[in-house]
């Protein structure tokens, strides 16, 4: 299998993701790691909550991984997403791509995170000290 798709309520492990995509044919790996930042538009974030429509999210993540493998000469692609409550500095998403040459790894990784944010049914709620908001819900 060249794709590895996972949704987990437990913390994601960067090293094991990198170990999984590494292959003897690979010359480079690009890894994108999303991290929970402490502020949005200057407002202090206390924590984030992620909710997934899990079977559909897995299916959409698989489509992204397969499209990337068809579009670029990459060896392996992994997409892991976290659910539940995450504190500042924790990791909601890891995307790792291995390829013989770096250009394909960079481009496929960027494609995967950009597309994930557009199509995968996962929702993020930002919790502030004085309220909370579902990101992107309202214009």
């Amino acid at each position: 299998m060249n794709t590895n798709i996972h949704i987990s309520a437990a913390p994601l492990n960067v090293q094991s993701c990198i170990d999984w995509v590494l292959s003897p044919e690979s010359g480079g790996i690009d890894v994108f790691i999303g991290t929970v930042r402490n502020a949005t538009k200057g407002k202090k974030v206390v924590h984030l909550e992620f909710e997934a429509y899990e079977p559909m999210a897995i299916s959409e993540m698989k489509k992204i991984a397969e499209a990337a493998i068809n579009k670029w000469p990459v060896h392996k692609i992994l997409i892991h997403h976290r659910t539940g409550s995450l504190n500042i500095g924790e990791i909601p998403v890891i995307i790792a791509v291995s390829a013989a040459h770096r250009a394909a790894a960079f481009e496929a990784c960027r494609y995967a995170i950009d597309t994930l944010k557009q199509t995968v049914p996962i929702w993020k709620k930002e919790v502030f000290e004085d309220g909370e908001v579902w990101v992107a819900a309202h214009p």
Partner: protein
Amino acid sequence: MKVLAFGIAKEIVGGTSIDVNAGHITVEELKTQLEGQFPRLKQLTTFMIAVNGEYATTGQIVKQADEVAIIPPVSGG
């Protein structure tokens, strides 16, 4: 027909799923019916309907036995 709700849609409809008195209608008709029942859906940037785990087109027919879900704007990653 049971309709799943996620994210802000869960808060708007007041639960993780609702029963909608409909069956064998188009996605567009279902969206209109949902907006009538829950006007706050109209304030969302957009919302999509998924049928059996796939994004549905507006003209697609929804049947009683389908797994239907309201998909408000996604914000993963």
